[in-house]
Amino acid sequence: MENSTTTKVNGPVMGTTLYAFTLDWLSGKYTLETMLAEVAKRRLCNAVEVIGFQSIKGFPEVSNAFVKDFRNWMDKYELVPFSVAVHADVAIRNGEKLSIDETVEYVARQIEIASKLGFSVVRSQMTAKAPVMRKLLPYAEKFKIKAGKELHSPYTLVHPEVIALRELYEELQTPYLGFVPDFGNSMRAIPKGMLDSFRKDGMTEPLIELIQKIWLNDFPTHEKYAQLQQEGLALGGTPAQLGRLNMVLSLFSRQKPEEWLEVMPQIVHIHGKFYSMENGEEPSIDYPALMKVFKQGGYNGYISSEWEGHLFTDEVSGFDIVKEHQEFCTRLLAE
């Protein structure tokens, strides 16, 4: 099987991340093969993304037998291995953080395995900062893997660390380093299910009103944490409650859809984050606007349907809601 970098995609095309099936995976009812078989059986979009540390025991150390099995499953179920979500676990040692070179080594090993398994993109994280990305370039080139830094709340395009990356990419001018926008960065509302879960956990209404007020402020998300801490404490919020409210800022930002145009040539993959589907639409994310931006902006690549409602509900089937989301997005892309 060829590395899927050789697969040409015209325009934005939907894909499937196994992360959307986290509830099903953790239930223990599936093996990796039976989960892939389920994706095929339900005719979900066939470009597949996996989280290495979720789906593969021992990752990133895998046997040759596993590599062979995995490639066989891709063929058998007619799936395209597209992206591996890799992690930059810089705080893995309790105490001293990994150095730049140690982080490079940690992520490079995952890039190598992603390549062996037939993938063409890895999603990296903001804990692998610009100096790490610079040193990862030779590995990305060697293994023919595009390494995309995930732009996930609170890392919007105006975050200083994102600006440092944009400057690095400007300097290096390489197709092997890029970005993976996460639609959680472009939301129009906090999902109702999240607010309901706060109420269910006994959070007071003033605290819930506070997070909504702060979220709607027009300054960058990463500058909102301090205000939440200060005003939340004044309202009697406990550290555990404020930690839970922090999740709103760490998951959702309000970057306008058209702002993605600024980095369009550097986008190597997209996480089509979503939380719920109501009457065939995602109420908290302006998908019609986003799809228009990526289609008209000339993006040629995949958008993984990334349902993350498991953070506040286990009453939804990941497989069912991903199907609905892919039909919704495919319809928008055809307009």
């Binding site: 540390f53 676990d89 810089v90 893995i92 040692r93 498991h310 953070l311 286990d314």
Partner: protein
């Protein structure tokens, strides 16, 4: 934290042994973590706290003390595998078929989510309490 907390204790988690009981606990995070991520683990049975010195952790056939855990950053805890806690407890004398209340408090240090000015790993904390029938 959320719905994934329900994974921590499954219905078949409790088993009586000659020296106390075994308790299978599972992660409430979505991905595998090193064992060093287990930043906090407290176990109570019928309201009684089990001291750490009475807990050994079995993972992939190896046995670790609670003291060792913090240094085990190269020992991977696969997200679908339970930790088998071997607990020494002489007072209750658990009986098969009886029900016991088990409370587990689990704090996981997330090595890629850094918080605060000092950039400490996020402590994802969960607490679950469940009446379990002893096997």
């Amino acid at each position: 934290m959320g719905p994934l907390d329900k994974n921590i204790l499954k219905d078949d988690a409790l088993k009586a042994t000659a020296s106390g009981f075994n308790l299978k606990v599972r992660s409430h995070w979505y991905r595998s973590l090193p064992l060093s991520s287990l930043g906090n683990l407290q176990v109570k049975i019928n309201g009684l706290t089990i001291p750490h010195t009475q807990i050994k952790i079995e993972l992939d056939g190896a046995i670790y003390s609670m003291e060792q855990v913090a240094s085990l950053y190269k020992t991977w805890w696969f997200v679908l595998d339970p930790l088998a806690l071997h607990i020494t407890e002489n007072n209750l004398q658990l009986k098969k078929g009886n029900q016991y209340n088990i409370e587990v408090e689990m704090g996981l240090l997330i090595p890629y989510v850094l918080t605060g000015k000092e950039e400490k790993p996020l402590l994802a904390a969960s607490i679950v309490s469940k009446n379990l029938t002893c096997n």
